[in-house]
């Protein structure tokens, strides 16, 4: 029997993987962005699961907007990445330290 808890647990696992991916990521920022997408997917999972088990379409509306915003975010993030690469010749996480000083 599939319950709400199974879906939520799956989402929690995906979420944890995304988080681990952000932190352990070694070289480039693109992976960080992909992990962000993973996090968003896991959140969307929650919304859709609740929407289904509560029979409330509002959850899907939310997912719709999240997808929109996430797509915009991905586009902008990649644009920033391109600009960054042009200036620094690198998107290496360990070389981008301008936040300090």
């Amino acid at each position: 029997m599939l319950t709400l808890q199974s879906y939520l647990s799956l989402a929690a696992i995906i979420f944890a993987i995304g988080i681990i991916g952000i932190v352990i990521n070694r070289k480039n920022i693109i992976i960080v962005m992909m992990c962000t997408e993973l996090l968003l997917i896991s959140v969307n999972f929650n919304f859709i699961a609740f929407s289904y088990f509560n029979q409330d379409i509002a959850g899907q509306i939310f997912v719709f907007f999240i997808l929109t915003v996430a797509a915009a975010e991905a586009a902008i993030g990649l644009a920033i990445l391109v600009a960054l690469y042009r200036n620094k010749k690198s998107i290496d996480v360990q070389e981008l330290r301008t936040l300090r000083n």
Binding site: V23, I24, N25, I29, V32, R97, L99, R100
Partner: protein, 651 residues
């Protein structure tokens, strides 16, 4: 009518002083001395007019508020005038001496660049002194008290480029602060008891608090009235330079001579005596305070007189004489003979101002030479100064018939009949004091005016008229003022409406009627003969056998050293108290201010924040994944909290 006149008398010197101070430099010397002399003259004339009015009609005495200065809740502090016989006699003395000094200053200071400043100060001083004596409450008394102190400070340091003058005015200021602290504590104590500072209320209700006590510690209680009297007398000790707060007065001679005459002989230093007389309703209720006053006064009278014997500065000798005479006045107050005390204050104001001004005349004639060893034989060169000095000296030692005789003899008579604790001690002190007084007075007199004339003084001639006129004008009351005034002032009840004291019968043990009666009585007592004996001894020592003092000083060398060093009071103050306070302040500064406040609290906080921040800064590595980790860590902790909350493990 009288109220408005007294108000005018009070503020005329103030206006004159302000005018002289602001416009004196631009409008010239004639304007400066004109306006200030006019101000004091008006004040003086009004004082005489008030005296006559009051004598004719004693009902005219008034005690009236001018305005309310401050009111806090139920407390009200007013500025007011109290004009009674005591006030008016003080006003006359102050104004007269001040007038003489104003005139004298024209001659004495005519070359000084600070001419207008000087006139400004002495006029303001006159105002301050008048407001002190005319006040009807403790607040105004304190104002006058401080204002005369400030003026004294400014005038002692009048020649502010002279280092010794700066030190002297500093010393006077600090020591007066000690006295003023006592005074304000006394005033505060009275205010806390009565809730008002008005003389009339406090004096009328003083008897109701005789059983009040102030608990100083669990085992030591003191009658609050006695404590208040002692504290007030502490203020008087500072201002009237009583032992051990006397050290500033000899040093104050660094100021110009007119100042020494006006402030440090005739008026300001007698403020303490005046206050004792004004506070007589309080002091009369506390015999222990009176005994304390008596002891301090008699010690001052005898010990400071001895110092006068070894000084060579003409002004310092007179200054020590002033100290000694102030001791006499305080002694008289101590035996409840306030009228005798005030009478001595009055005669002393005349003859001591005279002596100072005569000394100033000598100083001017010798081109600001003050060492009496370089003087001598000046009687032929300065005849008027010589005669007026002789009058002043005779008055000072109490030669029969002179003003000082009446006042001092009456005072000693009162001491001899007193039964206050320590009055016997005081009696012997003042008797020996008489001998010492005549010794140092005529030592000075003979050394300056007799003996051979020094070569460098051949061309000396009398100074100008404005110096001589005050001498003559002051010589007259110094000689004669005792004759008409002792009867009403001391033996009769002239001060009855302002001073509470036993009847003259009780004070003197004898019913005197007039001055002639008193003179014949005194000739049968020892005082006059002691004084004359003193003259003869000093004639012997300083005119005939001039080598005796030298030998004496060698024979009694330790004693002489003590005297030369003024009983080591200055050493004591400088090396012990001043150093103690210096060390205390230094350690407070170093430990309290720098270490605790600056380094620990103020800078320390910044340092600690800085250190903490520099550690926290290490977290700011600049790597995005470090920040991400922090965020995640926060999320983990938050989730942990939520989990524990759901499990009911935390609140």
């Amino acid at each position: 009518m009288l109220f408005n006149l007294s108000l005018i008398a009070l503020i005329m010197p103030l206006i004159a002083g302000i005018l002289a101070g602001f416009f004196g430099k631009t409008l010239g010397k004639i304007f400066t001395n004109g306006v200030t002399i006019l101000g004091v003259l008006i004040s003086f004339i009004i004082s005489i007019f008030i005296l006559i009015s009051i004598l004719e009609n004693p009902e005219l005495v008034f005690n009236q508020d001018v305005y309310t200065w401050l009111s806090i809740g139920s407390y009200k502090l007013s500025i007011g005038l109290l004009v009674d016989n005591l006030t008016v006699s003080m006003m006359i003395v102050v104004n007269f001496v001040s007038l003489m000094v104003h005139i004298y200053t024209i001659g004495y200071m005519h070359k000084d660049p600070g001419y207008h400043r000087f006139f400004c100060y002495i006029s303001l001083f006159t105002f301050a002194m008048l407001s002190l004596v005319m006040s009807n409450n403790f607040l105004q008394l304190f104002f006058g008290w401080e204002a005369v102190g400030v003026m004294s400070y400014l005038l002692i340091g009048f020649w502010y480029t002279k280092e010794s003058a700066i030190k002297a005015n500093f010393k006077a200021f600090i020591i007066n602060r000690i006295g003023d602290m006592f005074l304000i504590l006394g005033i505060a104590l009275l205010f806390s008891i009565f809730g008002t500072l008005d003389y009339e209320y406090i004096f009328n209700n003083a008897e109701s608090i005789t059983s009040n006590t102030v608990v100083l510690s669990s085992s030591f209680e003191i009658s609050s009235l006695t404590l208040a009297c002692l504290l007030l007398f502490g203020g008087a000790m500072g201002k009237s330079a009583q032992m051990p707060l006397h050290v500033w007065l000899p040093d104050s001679m660094e100021g110009p001579t007119p100042i020494s005459a006006l402030i440090h002989a005739a008026t300001m230093v007698t403020a303490g005596v005046f206050m004792l007389a004004r506070m007589s309703p309080l002091f009369e209720l506390s015999t222990s305070a009176l005994s304390f006053v008596l002891i301090i006064g008699s010690i001052t009278a005898i010990s400071t007189g001895l110092l006068g014997l070894v000084q060579y500065d003409i002004k310092r000798v007179i200054a020590y004489s002033t100290l000694s005479q102030l001791g006499y006045m305080v002694v008289a107050a101590g035996v409840s003979a306030y009228s005798a005390s005030l009478f001595h204050l009055m005669t002393h104001a005349f003859f001591k101002a005279l002596l100072f001004l005569a000394a100033g005349s000598v100083i001017v004639a010798l081109h600001h030479e003050q060492d009496i060893r370089k003087m001598g034989g000046l009687r032929s060169k300065l005849p008027i100064t010589y005669i007026t000095s002789l009058i002043g000296s005779l008055a000072l030692i109490g030669f029969p018939g002179f003003s000082g005789f009446f006042s001092k003899d009456a005072l000693i008579e009162a001491v001899s009949h007193s039964s206050v604790y320590a009055s016997d001690f005081a009696y012997y002190c003042v008797l020996i004091g008489v001998l010492i007084t005549s010794l140092y007075t005529f030592r000075l007199f003979f050394l300056v005016f007799h003996g051979p004339l020094k070569d460098e003084n051949i061309n000396v001639k009398e100074p100008q008229l404005s110096i001589l006129i005050p001498l003559i004008l002051l010589a007259i009351p110094s000689m004669f003022i005792g004759w008409p005034t002792i009867g009403p002032l001391v033996f009769d009840d002239f001060f009855a409406n302002s001073i509470i004291q036993p009847s003259s019968n009780d004070i003197f043990g004898y019913q005197f009627t007039d001055s002639y009666h008193f003179l014949t009585h005194s000739l049968s007592g020892p005082v006059v003969y002691i004084a004359i004996f003193g003259i003869l001894v000093s004639y012997l020592l300083y005119v005939i056998k001039k080598d005796i003092p030298e030998k004496l000083s060698q024979t009694f060398n330790p004693f002489y050293k003590v005297l030369i060093n003024k009983y080591y009071f200055d050493h004591l103050y400088e090396n012990i108290f001043a150093r103690l306070f210096n060390n205390l302040s230094n350690s407070l500064w170093n430990n309290g201010d720098i270490k605790i406040i600056d380094n620990f609290i103020v800078n320390g906080t910044a340092h600690r924040v800085g250190r903490f921040s520099s550690r926290v800064r290490e977290l700011q590595s600049g790597y995005i994944y470090h920040y991400a980790l922090m965020m995640v860590l926060g999320l983990a902790l938050f989730l942990a909290w939520v989990v524990f909350k759901s499990l009911g493990l935390v609140i």
